[in-house]
Symmetry: C2
Subunit: 109 residues, 2 copies
Amino acid sequence: MKQYQHPTADQFSLTCVLHALSDPVRLNYVQCLATLTCEQPCGAIATPVAKSTMSHHLRVLREAGIIRIRTEGTHSLTSLRWDELEARFPGVFTSVLKAVDKNVLVEEE
Amino acid sequence: MKQYQHPTADQFSLTCVLHALSDPVRLNYVQCLATLTCEQPCGAIATPVAKSTMSHHLRVLREAGIIRIRTEGTHSLTSLRWDELEARFPGVFTSVLKAVDKNVLVEEE
């Protein structure tokens, strides 16, 4: 079973978090995850990019500490680390999600 | 006299703003500008990068709408567009500045 590495909250870097959120596809994915509130299979959220590209995006989000990925059987399940992000950088993640203008998030690739 | 182009507030893009703030040198510069509060000559804030590199960073910040640059005589003066950013993406810029951990902003290059 694949084990994913995650930074601890004290390893979060503000610039890494901002970089991870600065891509429209990643920001859209995170917003959908926030709307759904519970843990989701990685493929459950429709994205406009190829699976391999999305794997890269998920890695960037995971390594920044924005999402947690765990395996259960043959599935990879994804959840936001919202509480940890909010504790580490108060207001940043929440205000970014509030500011997301769906019209800004163009479909790419 | 060089004229700089600036996006209007309704042209600001959230992902461009996040990208502009996701670099340690740029984030450090913006934080210094916020501390100084008033308009500053572009070279007044010490940065750990070459002048040409800083010109690139200033362009990224200007094109994202984070700073305004105007020329006065032989000087270029820089100021934050904080109020416009706050109006367009409430809480984002302010919470990022509050979250800046000086220890995270390593000197680069």
